[in-house]
């Protein structure tokens, strides 16, 4: 530190001002080394080191999630259909992680995954997943897609089936706590819609937005669920589809 301090003494005041605002990304060059050391002095060694270790942790945690959710988080057919997280709404993922912890969704594996995540880690993960947009993994029966599109966009007003697009958006990108469905796995969609009341809203002491979908899931019959699932599983909206909600 004494040597670094004497090095700093040779720098102009301009360099000092710039150095104070630099992040640890500038470590590497000799100037950067001084800047990095100064930054540590100015912002505190502990928080700077914490940032480094969090960034390493984030990469490790992302890889860990992708072990099951697919290398680009596009979803994966493991023993269970493991849902696509790519392009998912951050608020939705955060709410679902909390749902596992609060037993609103009952899943031993995801309970264990979720309850070790810090809020900062959850922010980092949800931002990362939201930024991804790999192609859907596909595999749904193509012949159902046209019927599914009709149900998704228009609903079936004669039999009181609401249009999915009203809440999930015309391109199924979701909004806030309402999930993106575009590219979601066909079997995951089937499992979730066919068993809604067993899949979601499982903790009566913590009622949640899943209650909104309950009557909708009930109003759909099996072949309608298959059609909608097939349609959304093929969708690939452009990255960053604008959300019209202000």
């Amino acid at each position: 530190m004494r040597a670094l301090n004497s090095l700093q003494a040779e720098r102009t005041s301009r360099t000092l001002v710039r150095a104070a605002t630099w992040t640890l990304r500038s470590v590497g060059s000799r100037v950067g080394l001084a800047a990095g050391a100064l930054t540590i002095v100015l912002v505190g060694a502990v928080s700077a080191q914490h940032r480094i270790s969090l960034s390493g942790d984030i990469q490790a945690k992302i890889s860990y999630c992708k072990d099951c959710h697919g290398v680009s988080a596009q979803g994966f057919n493991g023993y269970y259909p493991i849902p696509r997280l790519a392009g998912q709404q951050p608020e939705y993922i955060e709410n679902q992680l909390r749902a596992f912890i609060e037993h609103r969704r009952t899943n031993n594996i995801m309970f264990n995954v979720a309850h070790s995540l810090s809020p900062a880690m959850i922010n980092a993960l949800t931002a990362h997943f939201a930024s991804l947009n790999p192609p859907p993994i596909g595999g749904a029966p193509r012949r159902l897609v046209a019927t599914g599109r009709k149900i998704f966009e228009d609903g079936m007003p004669e039999v009181n089936i609401a249009a999915c697009a009203a809440c999930h958006g015309p391109e199924a990108t979701g909004s806030g706590q309402i999930p993106r469905l575009a590219g979601q796995l066909y079997p995951y969609m089937l499992k979730t819609l066919n068993n809604w009341d067993k899949e979601r809203g499982r903790n009566p002491t913590v009622p949640d937005a899943a209650a909104i979908m309950s009557p909708v899931a009930h109003s759909l019959n099996r072949s309608q669920i298959e059609a909608v699932a097939a349609f959304v599983s093929t969708l690939r909206p452009p990255r960053g589809t604008p959300n019209t909600v202000q």
Partner: protein, 229 residues
């Protein structure tokens, strides 16, 4: 204030073409109606189970007490809305005066009797506003709503929507309406309403007013209304 358990008497036909000649003509009128329209409409009411199922369907998107909901779009509050306003808007979707694919599909399958039942039910609901709007300009919004902006040629909103923003006839209730819904409508009035030139409608009344309001004024009014019970 109507009592909350008010229900339209069974069998009463709310047609605006109802004979003024008195009860003696109602039966022949109903028989005549039967020959021109579907049995459900001619009955003048719908089975309670059917109306309730349709109400639940509406509330999937408009909120469990019709207080409005933030889906992909802001989905408006229907609770406490005047029946005449709701009927006119449903017709507006069917006639493409308002363009919404979803609401067109919803609207065009509803029988007149079902529309009577639904609009009566929505009119009687009175849940708390959904809230969530920024609160810093509420006082300014209240002032604009009650007094208008004379310098900007904006009339007082209260003169048509009522001092408590409860609406009246074709004028909508605004009390408790979603902040972002009001903001979106007032900002884009000409793209939102009066979309069918062949069918000019009352939305034309709002057009110059929406134009006169600045964006900060729109947001202030919308914030005030969104908290109004």
């Amino acid at each position: 204030m109507k009592p909350m358990n008010f229900r339209r008497p069974q069998g009463q036909h709310r047609s605006t073409f109802r004979s003024p000649a008195g009860t003696a003509l109602i039966l022949p009128a109903a028989v005549l109606a039967l020959s021109f329209s579907s049995p459900a409409a001619a009955q003048g009411n719908v089975p309670k189970a059917e109306a309730d199922a349709k109400l639940r369907y509406c509330e999937v998107c408009h909120g469990v007490s019709a207080q409005g909901f933030h889906g992909y779009y802001p989905i408006p509050r229907l609770a406490g809305q005047p029946t005449e306003y709701l009927k006119n808007q449903l017709q507006a979707f069917v006639e493409h005066r308002r363009t919404s694919n979803i609401m067109f599909n919803v609207g065009h399958v509803l029988s007149p009797a079902m529309i009577d039942a639904l609009t009566t039910d929505f009119n009687q609901l009175n849940p708390k506003p959904l809230g969530g709007a920024p609160k810093e300009n509420i006082d300014e919004g209240k002032n604009i709503f009650e007094n208008g902006v004379a310098a900007g040629n904006v009339p007082a909103c209260a003169s048509c929507h009522g001092p408590q923003a409860k609406g009246n006839g074709p004028f909508p209730r605004l009390a408790g309406q979603l902040y972002d819904y009001i903001t979106a409508k007032l900002t884009n009035w000409e793209k939102e309403r009066g979309q069918n030139p062949a069918q000019p409608d009352i939305s034309a009344v709002m057009q110059p007013i929406a134009h006169s309001l600045t964006q900060p004024q729109i947001k202030a009014v919308a914030a005030y209304l969104s908290y109004l019970e």
